[in-house]
Symmetry: C2
Subunit: 305 residues, 2 copies
């Protein structure tokens, strides 16, 4: 079964496009669970038990486990084992390195931890992502436009995709026309360039994109560019301030599907006391229902057209 | 002591700008060491014992340890502990993520593993690197132009750094002139843009760049752009085919310093039999001496000018 099939089945079964981010910060988990890595494992298991019928996927963020060293990686492994088999696991580790190293990262995520999908960074280009894309049944989410403020530093730069035309031996009028045409046809943002490359690199039909909820207009353009079949992972709702309705409507395909809305801090730190499991469940349920309602609305609009 | 001070002292003591990459592949270490993670630790300790007086730094590549899960991370930790205190450790993990996650990666590298420096990926922009740069005494090597073939996919794209000028209400002759000027002043490659940003982001004087030996002409331009004080980490010599002399001459500053030439596979897999330690030492010594000779030549040329 491919990642998209597994994802779609989980989404259908739970009527949910909510992904819960498992980013356990030792300083923010309920005190009565204790401290250290065992407390984190208890916390993660509680989050999973409280939400397993409300999500389409879980997304553990590798950094939170790595900050605890070898013991943290054991907790990551145990956490992934505690996720029911039918719910896909997206390992959020944003790796990008030359081929022989990328192959080691892919082996780590898919063979050691048993993740169903990963996030990867495209800065090194195709040969750095190929070792991941070769795993046909896994999902590869390529960073496109991220949810942070500084995403503009590189991702929103304008690039020239064609050679600058020669301006020798042509009349001034022709020059101006050449240039105007050139700008119209030949400039793109870096993130649009990445979305186009992702489509070129998608021979196995297993690529996806990461696009933050904080840029809904850009998200909508990217969805219309990549069409109906590519999943888009959308962080940035909740703690980072992205609007939920815009995220779903802009990011989903014409059927209202394949926009995976991730919420981490906004759900897992819902409650600090003994009743934290119930608080988390309640909060996840609200997100799940809101997201699903927006996706149904999108499907209806499509069907009326 | 800052990272650059520690690096410079180690380089001076050992008369070396060679960095040995600790990328242990279980399938390539000498068979008589056994298998599994304990064999890797034995191998790494043997490499360190054989080369500790020949290097300016060691660079463990996190992926090779991560591919073995939690146990691999224990080996990484033990490996770093086995490196003599006066030799800096560059943890090659190429992370890049939003601020709160980047802070966890920084904590992992600097506080848990005790690395002196890291490699990071700039695709997410300044706020994703700030949590690393805040560690004033650590070195932060920002990926600029990597040594792999596909680096051209994004890093060698041409970006427009200024707004496209308005072409309304000016004569055709003025238009052509405006455009020609515009292209001359306002287009940059992505990697040059990154090198400029690295200088802007370098308030604590602890940023460095990663530039592959496979692009010596570009390496030379980047060195002249960033000046004398920024260290450049240069992978791509050896297995990846970059020329050693060009790497040192193009990457070092006017004093012949601060070009850290990394060799991984080209040194650590020098021998497979019982005498592998001697083979590794011999090979590392040849690299070290060649690199140092080229750096002395560069200094002499400078002094003659």
């Amino acid at each position: 079964m491919t990642f998209v099939e597994k994802l779609s089945r989980a989404a259908e079964k739970n009527k949910s496009w909510l992904c819960v981010g498992l980013d356990p910060d030792t300083s923010r988990i309920p005190q009565h669970l204790g401290s250290g890595s065992d407390a984190i494992l208890k916390f993660n298991k509680a989050v999973i038990e409280s939400t397993a019928d409300l999500v389409c996927a879980y997304k553990p963020n590798s950094a939170f486990y790595e900050s605890l060293g070898a013991d943290g990686m054991r907790v990551l492994s145990e956490t992934i084992k505690a996720i029911p088999d039918h719910i896909p696991v997206i390992m959020d580790f944003k790796r990008g390195d030359i081929g022989n190293t990328a192959a080691m990262y892919a082996r780590s995520a898919f063979e050691y931890y048993g993740a169903d999908a990963v996030t990867v960074n495209p800065y090194l280009g195709f040969d750095s992502l190929e070792p991941f894309l070769k795993y046909r049944d896994k999902g590869i989410f390529i960073l496109c436009l991220t949810s942070n403020q500084s995403s503009a530093d590189i991702q929103k730069q304008i690039i020239l995709i064609d050679e600058i035309p020669s301006l020798e031996n042509i009349s001034p009028q022709a020059k101006a026309k050449t240039i105007a045409e050139f700008f119209k046809c030949s400039s793109l943002t870096v993130y649009t360039h990445i979305a186009r490359l992702a489509m070129q690199w998608n021979d196995n039909g297993n690529a996806g994109l990461v696009v933050g909820a904080t840029s809904p207009a850009e998200l909508e353009k990217i969805r219309s560019l990549v069409g109906n079949d590519m999943p888009i992972l959308i962080p940035g709702v909740g703690a980072q301030g992205g609007d939920l309705q815009n995220a779903v409507k802009s990011g989903s395909n014409t059927e209202g599907n394949l926009a995976i809305v991730n919420v981490s801090r906004g759900i897992i730190y819902s409650g600090g006391g003994e009743s934290f499991k119930e608080d988390i469940r309640q909060n996840a349920k609200s997100y799940k229902e809101a997201i699903y309602d927006f996706s149904i609305q999108k499907r209806k609009i499509r069907n009326m057209e």
